[in-house]
Symmetry: C2
Subunit: 190 residues, 2 copies
């Protein structure tokens, strides 16, 4: 585990962390593999062994992201509003992951490390939508509506499009948004 001169011992995690930081600083494509390798103190081809290529590194970021994401959503419990808040919280706290996850042209979305975790997250959203839906025929519509609002708010907030982004607490604001749009649908398990 401790870094011998030759075998880093921990390169995979270090590269992932370096990538996450670089993404946070310059966006999902605003950095180079070689720069990360330099930061990690290894040669520029060392990461190849762990990730194959740059796309592989981004795939690993997406995979880790969807895992964390699914866990976050699952932990929010059954209350649908809190699932939406958890969605936004994840985006804000793990913004580097988030900015990769929903940009599938950057990585390999069919990778076996990615697809199951993504499905797990989708299942939480679907079940939340079902709970909120006014009638079964509109389950999907309701899911997409709530998903869109949480996702759109997160994306706008992260991109800085909301001019007052600095002043607001995104989680609190998200809760207010959801209440405004979906509060009237809430018929708590009648």
């Amino acid at each position: 585990m401790e870094p011998s001169a030759y075998h880093h011992g921990n390169l995979r995690r270090v590269m992932l962390d370096a990538a996450l930081q670089a993404i946070g600083e310059s966006g999902p494509t605003g950095w180079s593999l070689r720069e990360l390798a330099r930061r990690a103190g290894v040669s520029h081809t060392a990461p190849t062994h762990h990730f194959g290529d740059k796309t592989g590194l981004l795939t690993a970021v997406a995979a880790e992201g969807f895992d964390l994401f699914a866990a976050t959503l699952e932990a929010a419990g059954g209350d649908f509003r809190e699932v939406g808040v958890a969605y936004v919280r994840f985006a804000v706290r793990h913004r580097s992951h988030f900015q990769v996850m929903f940009r599938p042209e950057l990585y390999r979305p069919a990778d076996p490390a990615v697809a199951p975790a993504r499905a797990r997250a989708a299942a939480v959203l679907s079940s939340g939508g079902r709970a909120l839906s006014p009638d079964p025929a509109r389950d999907r519509l309701t899911t997409v509506a709530a998903w869109s609002m949480a996702h759109g708010f997160a994306d706008l907030w992260l991109s800085g499009a909301l001019a007052d982004a600095a002043e607001i607490d995104p989680e609190t604001y998200a809760r207010d948004l959801i209440t405004l749009a979906f509060g009237h649908l809430h018929h708590p398990k009648a």
Copy 2:
């Protein structure tokens, strides 16, 4: 105007179109300036004269995008639901523009060709939100709610995250989403 051997006569527009096509094929960063220049049949430094650098080209894409965007939203008239539908329509019909516009780290958002057009679009959204808001104190919240939903749906649809994306007509679906979430607020100019 006709292409003499030396002076292309039309390079700016041709490069913009080539960029839009490349973005559509490989995302906002999945192409090279040199490749576009080759497609246009000019040397790889010719575009410098029109755009300065690659960021300048993306800035021009964003500027054109926000212009078109503002025009589209303004043309939707006062009906708020139709503004949301127009938002989604723009994203679908001008997806290359859209994918750049909300990724400000890719271009220069403060550019004088960008900022005013963006402000124009924001004004339409704000006024729509105001019309929909249940009370003045919630004007901003309502605007952000509707904006988030339209934006989120557009982004999810474009990214392919909605598994059934192929089957649905995004504009119709957007109208249904807005009705579900905001229909109960509609108090037509009482």
